[in-house]
C-alpha cells in the first residue's frame, strides 16, 4: 500500500559520501547530547523519583515478597474457609478472599507473576511490534502489504482460538507461558501504531535531509525516526502493561492462565468479581494495587517521553 518510498534516492556514491559521513558524525554527537540532556531533564523531575520509587518497591515485592509479610500463602492452613470474605480487620488490613486467604499476603506474593506478565508482555509486544512497524512503515511496498495483512488475520483470530493453540504447543500455567501467549497475540497493535507514526514522520524535513545526505535506512530508522515516534508507543505500552496484568486472568478460564496454587493480581480480581456486590473489598484491594502499578509506569513513561522526545524540546 504504501506511500512514497524513500530509500530509492541513492545519491551518486563518492560525491556525497564524505559529506554524509561528516553529517552523520555530527548527528551522532547530537544524539549523544540528546541522551545527556534527557538525563539532565529527568533528574530535575520529581515525578521521575516518585515513579521510580514505586517501581523499585514493586521489584522488591516481586523479588523478595517474604520481606513484606510474615505469612506465606503456601503454608498449610493459610486459607481457612471459615474466614471467607471477612472484611478488613486488624492484622488483616485487606480482609479475606472467597477461600478465606489473607488478601494482603496474597497481593504481596502475587506481585511477581503479575509484574512478569505485565512487563514481559508489554516489552515483548513493543519490541516485536515496534520493529516490524518500523520496517513496514519505512520499506512500504510488498513488505508492508504482507505484514499488514498478517496483522489483520491476527486481529480477527479470536483470543480463545489463538490462546488454546499456542498452549497446546508450549503448555501453560506459569507467568512465562502466559506472557508468551499474550505477546504472540498482542504485537499487531503496537505494529499498527508504530507503522502509522513512521509513515507520518518519514516525510519530515530531518528525515529528508538525512536521506539526502545518504544515510542508510537502518540509521534513519534508529537515529531519526525512532525518537520522534516514541510518544504514542510509550503511551500504548504503559497502558498495555496494566491491561495485560488483568487480562491474564481471562486465560485462566480456559485453563491456561496462572493456576492454583500460584497467585496473581489478575486472578485475585477475577475471583472476586462474582461476589463484588456483597464483598467489594476482595476486588478493590488487588485492583488498587494494579492501579498504582499502572500509574507508576504511566508516570515514568510520561517523564521519559518529556525528556527524550526531540519534539518536546
Amino acid at each position: 500500500m504504501s506511500e512514497k518510498t524513500i530509500e530509492k534516492t541513492a545519491p551518486a556514491e563518492g560525491a556525497v559520501s564524505d559529506k554524509a559521513t561528516a553529517a552523520e558524525e555530527k548527528a551522532a554527537a547530537r544524539q549523544a547530547s540528546l541522551i545527556r540532556d534527557g538525563w539532565e531533564i529527568l533528574r530535575k523531575r520529581p515525578m521521575f523519583y516518585i515513579s521510580a520509587f514505586v517501581i523499585v518497591i514493586l521489584l522488591a515485592l516481586a523479588i523478595a515478597p517474604g520481606l513484606f509479610t510474615s505469612r506465606s500463602p503456601f503454608s498449610d492452613g493459610f486459607c481457612q474457609l471459615q474466614n471467607s470474605l471477612n472484611p478488613p480487620s486488624s492484622g488483616h488490613m485487606f480482609g479475606y478472599d472467597v477461600q478465606g486467604c489473607d488478601i494482603y499476603t496474597r497481593s504481596v506474593f502475587g506481585t511477581r507473576n503479575s509484574i512478569i506478565v505485565g512487563v514481559v508482555t508489554a516489552l515483548a509486544t513493543t519490541a516485536l511490534g515496534g520493529l516490524l512497524g518500523i520496517i513496514a512503515g519505512l520499506r512500504g511496498g510488498w513488505v508492508d502489504t504482507i505484514l499488514s495483512r498478517v496483522t489483520e488475520v491476527f486481529f480477527a483470530l479470536p483470543l480463545i482460538v489463538g490462546a488454546l493453540l499456542i498452549m497446546s504447543i508450549v503448555g501453560g500455567g506459569d507467568a512465562w507461558s502466559v506472557s508468551l501467549i499474550m505477546a504472540v497475540l498482542g504485537w499487531p497493535q503496537v505494529f499498527r501504531i508504530m507503522r502509522g507514526e513512521v509513515i507520518a514522520n518519514k516525510h519530515n524535513d530531518y528525515v529528508m535531509a538525512a536521506k539526502a545526505l545518504g544515510a542508510d535506512t537502518t540509521r534513519i530508522a534508529f537515529r531519526h525516526i525512532l525518537p520522534n515516534t516514541l510518544a504514542p508507543v510509550i503511551v500504548v505500552t504503559t497502558m498495555n502493561l496494566g491491561v495485560y496484568i488483568s487480562a491474564e486472568a481471562a486465560l485462566s478460564y480456559l485453563g491456561i492462565g496462572i493456576q492454583h496454587p500460584n497467585i496473581s493480581w489478575g486472578l485475585m480480581i477475577s475471583d472476586a468479581t462474582d461476589r463484588f456486590l456483597t464483598s467489594p473489598h476482595a476486588l478493590l484491594f488487588p485492583a488498587a494495587v494494579l492501579s498504582i502499578t499502572v500509574l507508576a509506569f504511566i508516570m515514568l513513561g510520561d517523564v521519559v517521553r518529556d525528556a527524550f522526545d526531540p519534539k518536546m524540546r
Binding site: 500500500m1 483470530l157 480463545i160 482460538v161 497493535q189 502509522g196 507514526e197 488483568s246 456486590l277 492501579s291
Partner: protein, 308 residues
C-alpha cells in the same frame, strides 16, 4: 489514489481465501469433538454421534471438509451449525446488532476520548489532566464486567433511565449503556494517546508560526494541532473497530445482546468450525476495510503522505 484503493480491494481476495483455510485448519487443531460437545457432561450416544458425524462430514479428511465448505460458500451456502441452523441466518440476525453496538461504542470512545485527551493536554498538570489520568486508571484496572454490572444495576434497575438488558427498546436506547461500557477501555487509550500527541504538536514549529501570525488559539488548536496529532489516534481507532465487533463477548453477555462476539465464543466452545470460519472471515474483511480507511486518512491528516 483510485488505483491504490482498487489494488487493496483486489488483495482482499487471496487474503480471504487464505484466511478461511487457515482458520478452518486452526479450529481443527483445537482438541474437542463438536458432537460430544452437544451432549454436555454425559457421554454422547455412540450411534447418534456416528450418525451426526457422517451427516456433517466430520469423518472426512480436513481438506475434503474444507472443500465441502468452500464450494458451499461459492454457491452462496455458508453451511449450517451442527444443530442444523443455517449460518447465513445467524449472521444476518446478529450482524445488525453488532454493527449498531460497535458503531455506537466507536462514536462514544472517539468523541469522549479525544475530547478528554485535548483538555488534558491543554491543561497539563491541572485538575482536568489529573482527572483524566485517574479515570484512565479506573477504566484499566476495574474489569469491564464489574463496571458494566454496577452501571446496569444503578442506572437500569435502581434509577431506571436505561433498559437493563436486551434489544427490545431498539437503537439508541438499548445500545447506549452497553456501548459506553464496551468503549471504556479503549476510551482510556484514546484519551492518553490524544494527550501525548497534542502535547508534541503544540510545540511544533508550524503551531508557533500560526500563533505568531496571530491566528486565534481555538483555530490553531482545532485545525493545526489536532489534525497533526490524530495519526496515532486514528490508527488506534481503526484497529479498535474490528475489536469492538468481534471482541464484545463480555458486554454482549452482560447486556444480553445477541451479537457476533457472543456467537463466536460459543461456536469456538462448541467447535462449530463452519460458524467460526464464517465469522472470523467476516471480521478479517472488516479489519481490511477499516485499515484501508485509516491509510487513506493518513493522507488527509498529513498532506505530505501520498500514495504510489
Amino acid at each position: 489514489m483510485g488505483r491504490f484503493v482498487v489494488r487493496r480491494i483486489l488483495q482482499a481476495i487471496p487474503v480471504l481465501i487464505g484466511v478461511t483455510f487457515l482458520i478452518f485448519y486452526l479450529v481443527f487443531a483445537l482438541k474437542g469433538d463438536p458432537i460430544q460437545a452437544l451432549a454436555g457432561e454425559k457421554r454422547a450416544d455412540p450411534n447418534v454421534a456416528a450418525m451426526l458425524r457422517e451427516q456433517y462430514h466430520l469423518n472426512d479428511p480436513k481438506i475434503v471438509q474444507y472443500w465441502h465448505y468452500i464450494t458451499g460458500v461459492f454457491t452462496g451456502d455458508l453451511g449450517t451449525t451442527y444443530t442444523g441452523r443455517p449460518i447465513s441466518e445467524i449472521v444476518s440476525e446478529r450482524f445488525p446488532v453488532t454493527l449498531k453496538l460497535a458503531l455506537t461504542a466507536f462514536g462514544i470512545e472517539a468523541v469522549l476520548g479525544i475530547t478528554a485527551g485535548i483538555f488534558a493536554a491543554l491543561k497539563k498538570g491541572k485538575f482536568i489532566d489529573n482527572l483524566v489520568l485517574i479515570s484512565t486508571l479506573v477504566l484499566i484496572s476495574i474489569p469491564v464486567f464489574v463496571l458494566g454490572s454496577v452501571l446496569q444495576l444503578e442506572l437500569g434497575v435502581k434509577v431506571g433511565i436505561t433498559p437493563v438488558a436486551g434489544i427490545d427498546d431498539g437503537w439508541p436506547n438499548s445500545y447506549i449503556l452497553p456501548a459506553f461500557v464496551l468503549a471504556s477501555t479503549s476510551m482510556a487509550y484514546i484519551a492518553r494517546l490524544t494527550r501525548a500527541s497534542m502535547m508534541e504538536s503544540i510545540r511544533a514549529d508550524y503551531v508557533r508560526t500560526a500563533i505568531a501570525k496571530g491566528l486565534p488559539r481555538r483555530r490553531v488548536i482545532g485545525i493545526h494541532t489536532l489534525r497533526n496529532s490524530l495519526i496515532p489516534v486514528v490508527t488506534f481507532l481503526g484497529m479498535d473497530l474490528g475489536a469492538l465487533m468481534g471482541g464484545a463477548i463480555i458486554t454482549e453477555r452482560l447486556f444480553n445482546l445477541p451479537g457476533i462476539g457472543g456467537q463466536l465464543a460459543k461456536s469456538v466452545y462448541l467447535r462449530e468450525r463452519p460458524v467460526v470460519v464464517g465469522l472470523v472471515t467476516l471480521l478479517v474483511l472488516i479489519y481490511l476495510v477499516a485499515n484501508l480507511v485509516v491509510d487513506l486518512l493518513y493522507a488527509v491528516l498529513d498532506p505530505r503522505i501520498r500514495y504510489e
